[in-house]
């Protein structure tokens, strides 16, 4: 087999591409540009950490099924962990988003990083919503019967029935978390590949 033939293989080409875009020193860096020195940068990693706690607490809830937490003290505590990690997740994510907006973090070929971040935000809202309507308590009854009108009015209710507990639970524990995690991974890899956006050139901007 010739080296040219090997070089043409999809696997080889993908490996070269990944190695070129994300060499180890970018994937796991040991230095950062000096300007990366503000509390605002904490909220990206806080969002990721909260996502990890959300998923871990969700795993524990999944072990015993969707109604366990109503009858068990431990289950209720795990549900509380799930709730508060979601609140921290959104709190950190929104601050991260506004911070990145005021940094104009899409500059320098980082538009797709911004786009994946916004899509992750929207998918996260849908994920949390399906969780709220899957609680099997008064909150889920009220929220689902209210939300149905908004979703039905768009036509989406034909495919996404918020009153169907089984459907909502599947979206909440399989489809949407998978999408959120994959999008988050892509987003983080883009940040690692492109680096953190540099400051505006102030001398040009100064009036």
């Amino acid at each position: 087999m010739s080296s040219t033939e090997i070089d043409r293989q999809w696997t080889t080409r993908l490996r070269h591409r990944v190695a070129h875009r994300l060499p180890p020193e970018k994937m796991l860096p040991d230095t950062q540009p000096a300007y990366v020195a503000s509390w605002i940068y904490v909220f990206g990693v806080t969002t990721l950490s909260a996502l990890a706690v959300v998923i871990l607490s969700g795993f524990v809830l999944a072990l015993k099924g969707p109604q366990w937490w109503h009858a068990s003290g431990i289950g209720h505590f795990v549900n509380s962990l799930h709730l508060w990690s979601v609140e921290i997740f959104f709190f950190a994510m929104v601050i991260h988003l506004w911070g990145k907006y005021f940094m104009a973090a899409w500059r320098g070929g980082r538009s797709l990083t911004w786009v994946t971040g916004v899509v992750t935000f929207l998918v996260s809202i849908a994920t949390a919503f399906t969780g709220y309507v899957s609680q099997t308590n008064f909150d889920s009854q009220w929220i689902s019967t209210q939300a149905k009108d908004g979703i039905n009015s768009t036509g989406a209710g034909s495919f996404f029935n918020v009153l169907n507990f089984g459907q909502m639970l599947m979206w909440h524990i399989v489809l949407l978390p998978l999408a959120a995690v994959v999008l988050t991974a892509v987003h983080v890899l883009m940040v690692r590949a492109k680096g953190v956006v540099p400051p505006f050139e102030e001398r040009e901007e100064a009036r």
Partner: protein, 313 residues
Amino acid sequence: MSDSPDVTVAPWTGPQRPYDIIKEGTIAFLVVAILTIGLALVFGSPDEPQVTIQQWSTKAPVDFAQTALAELNGTSGTAQYGAPYNTASAGQSLGPFTLAKWLGATIPVNTVRDFVLSPLESQPAAAPLSAALAQWKGASAHQRTAWVDAYTKASAKMTFANGTVSVPTTSAGPVPVMINTLEQMARSGALDQALVTRNGFYTSNFTLPLLFLADGSYLGDLAQQRHLLGTQWGMMNETGNYPGQAWLWLYTFWYQVPPFASSANADVQVWGLMMLFSLLLLLVPFIPGLRSIPRWTRVYRLIWRDHYRSQGA
């Protein structure tokens, strides 16, 4: 490609500082985990028990019977909803677009059949009920309408005593027996079961009981007491003093202000508006003006103040 300072930036060639990404991630995870545990221990989470149709019909028997009648005479919210449940109305429209109607009744609900007749038919054959159902089935559509109209006309004087719903009319045919039996079914808990077992032994679809519950006043009254109505910032809240879905504040906000607060098409209008805002947020990097706001406001100077101080800018 644009050379606008809102789009381009030269790669950084300045100084670097040490950065331990693994250590940062580990510390962040531990801090968030400890904070979460603390919040969970101190505040817990809300879990108000579900409302059953049995509870509704026991606590508010007349409201239940009036709702059952509304399902029978076609005046309930579900009966007049339109898509995706039926074709009774065109539903909401956004300008010329009636999106739900175009997709049709994909989750068909016939309130007479699904909320009244089928549950009654699932009951053991008691003589008065069997006779009432036979009388109903044997009657013409015109006769059924006349019976239901007579019952509806007298229903303003509906009372409930000794486990029986009473309406002062003698010309409603089998309707009084049907409504009364449905009431008794509901109070025994049998209606909760009958509505969810329509699809067989295993079920996870609660569309029918939730629609029935939402058609009555009882669920809404409970929600109002808990400040959960649409006019009270609605579904972004949850029971108790918890943050709820605070991230839905903008979506919920529109329902509180004109013209949406009084619009018959508020749902689709608010959804349309939020879709537009989401699209704008998504496309910020490509929208001149919107992408320039960070440079104009110079909030970035707060974020990178050490950098600019070191640059003497």
